[in-house]
């Protein structure tokens, strides 16, 4: 279903013009850069969803008819409020699998914190932190590999 894409397209309907207006009225670079980055982020998410959901892309594509009709139809499909109730979700998460418990999330978080503290206290803490992080990531990933 394309509603997930429309969700971000509707966001762009507000964010693109407000970015332009902000730049025109303020000429302030920091805020404008942040708004532009936000627009790029929204576009990137839309791209990611479309990449994984051909059904959504097909639903949003322009269809046959006159120029005005095609344009209105495209706008309606892009940001309209009607959702097809029979369409599949755009992202297939696969079957619901429940992993068993794992110590690696805790160990990985702890190692990142040790490494982060190492940036404050010095390399005597940073290096063990990075070593611990490497071990934790290895443990996490090899646990996945056994599946």
């Amino acid at each position: 279903m394309a509603e997930e894409v429309r969700f971000f397209l509707r966001g762009l309907v507000y964010l693109v013009p407000i970015t332009v207006v902000y730049w025109l009225v303020s000429k302030e670079p920091a805020g404008t850069a942040l708004l532009v980055a936000l627009v790029v982020g929204f576009v990137a998410v839309i791209g990611l969803v479309l990449l994984h959901a051909s059904s959504a892309a097909a639903e949003l594509r322009p269809r046959s008819g006159g120029i005005a009709g095609r344009l209105l139809g495209a706008v309606n499909r892009a940001i309209g409020f009607h959702e097809r109730v029979d369409a599949p979700p755009p992202l297939e998460g696969g079957p619901d699998l429940i992993p068993t418990g794992s110590p690696w999330p805790l160990i990985t978080a702890a190692s990142i914190v040790v490494a982060g503290l190492g940036l404050i206290f010095g390399t005597w803490l940073l290096l063990p932190g990075l070593a611990l992080l490497a071990w934790a990531l290895l443990g996490w990933l090899t646990q996945l590999d056994r599946a």
């Binding site: 279903m1 509603e3 997930e4 969700f7 509707r10 966001g11 507000y14 964010l15 407000i18 207006v21 902000y22 009225v25 303020s26 302030e28 920091a30 805020g31 942040l34 708004l35 936000l38 982020g41 929204f42 969803v49 409020f81 959702e83 097809r84 109730v85 369409a87 979700p89 755009p90 992202l91 297939e92 998460g93 696969g94 079957p95 619901d96 699998l97 429940i98 992993p99 068993t100 418990g101 794992s102 110590p103 690696w104 999330p105 805790l106 990985t108 978080a109 702890a110 990142i112 914190v113 982060g116 503290l117 940036l119 404050i120 996490w140 646990q143 996945l144 056994r146 599946a147």
Partner: protein, 566 residues
Amino acid sequence: MTAAQGDVRGRGGAGHVAREPEGVVSWLTTTDHKKVGVLYMVTAFLFFLVAGAFSILMRAELAAPGLQLMDLGTYNELFTMHGTAMIFFFATPMVVGLANYFVPLQLGAADVAFPRLNAFTYWLFLFSALIVFGGFFVAAGAAAFGWYGYPPLSTATYSPGLGADLWVMGLLLSGVASILGAVNLLATIFAMRAPGLTMFRLPLFTWNILVTSVLMLFTFPVIGAALAMLFIDRNLGGSFFTAEGDPLVYQHLFWFFGHPEVYIIALPFFGIVSEIVPVFSRKPLFGYKAFVFATVLIGAYSFSVWAHHMFTTGAIAALFFTITSFLIAIPTGVKFFGWIATMWRGRIWLATPMLHCLGMMGMFLIGGITGVFLASAPIDYALHDTYYVVAHMHYVLFGTGVFAMFAGVFYWFPKMTGRMLDERLGAIQFWLVFIGFNLTFFPMHQLGIDGMPRRVGDYLAATGWTDLNFVSTAGTAVIALGVVIFLYNFVTSLSHGPLAGDDPWGGHTLEWATSSPPPHHNFARLPPITSDRPVLDERLALGPRQGGEPIQPPASRSQEGRRRRG
């Protein structure tokens, strides 16, 4: 999707349930979204208690002129850590905890999309918070520059202590946890919905979490960048925010995160209220799509209002931010009208979840109206950095965060534990917190108008601020009493509360279709989903003789009176 050995298939309970470790180990190694959610909620509530204790100390200090309990440096540490803890370690993780527990249940899913990542984000959040609080145990004390961390005050020149570095690093790592948590929730909502659960059938709590996740995804990197630059300035000789750089850029970055953060906190609690009001009004929600679009609009608008916190810098386009800030009142008003229309001519059941929702509506309304005043640049110039702003932000954040949190806890406690909280104690607690809250924060409006600046540990008797400050301090004690009663209620109800059954309130959404507490795989079966209230649909289809009728609320006096008259 790859998963580890021993994985089980959820949704319908097909497959075997793997043997889970027990006791403390099970909590340390859990990847079950429900347990991770509980860990988040309990930890966040503990930080709420700690930050609340700081506020009691601050209010005790301000009860009378002169220094009673602490020096001004300690006061600075307390208000900094109070704000930091309440925003980053209570309100935000409480939202994530509630989302962790209930979003998969509301989607009819067996877990979140990335369960191990989910557990990782919890531990990273916990350790980050401990790093920040570790500042109290270093020689120079904790960070003491306010929860904004504005440079140049937060640079190494003016805040040279180790506590400031711990604050920066802790918040940076906590931000990483928030970003990953947002990705996980977005993936869960987009990819793990039960068959038939289209986007416009999502429960409103989940819709609000979706918008909140988008806000988190796009704003936490900004504060992360700001904190990283501040860290470089402090420790590696950088000059992003020093005299050679531009301290004002930090304010832009901070508030580009900071204002959406208000909605990161508020929206999920709006979602809770939108779940509870229809159930306790015995009516479907009025204007489902209007609620959804109001939520999306609030999220979009929140990206364009950041600099209304910076009016007094004189370096921003004031009219632009005044107009965009006013705009947010429109979708917020839509929500209020929707709640009122839902209650209108409903059979309102004033149980504790509903009481807290009504409290939230009233308090947030006051906070919203004072917010409109502050969004007007000329008024903001007069009131900036006074106690009026403190009053406004507490009516917004405490009004939504705390009242709606209690509403959610009373509403979902039976689902999480299988037992009911005590309604009588709940009502007493509500009134104590409600009265205490207004005693504490309402006088601050007048204090602000009278010119009392925020973040001061002392004032002169000649200012005339003593009486209102004393009332405010007394109110804090009343809130504390209410919270103590809640804790007593919570602890005793865990073991001695009446059994709840699967659906004690007559809920509408999928979490009420499973047992209380839910099994490891969440659902033995799912009802057909043809609307945003599948459980209500099924109950109505079954009818009263087949156990389909919800528990009837006790008739209120007015209803009894109407019946006698009619």
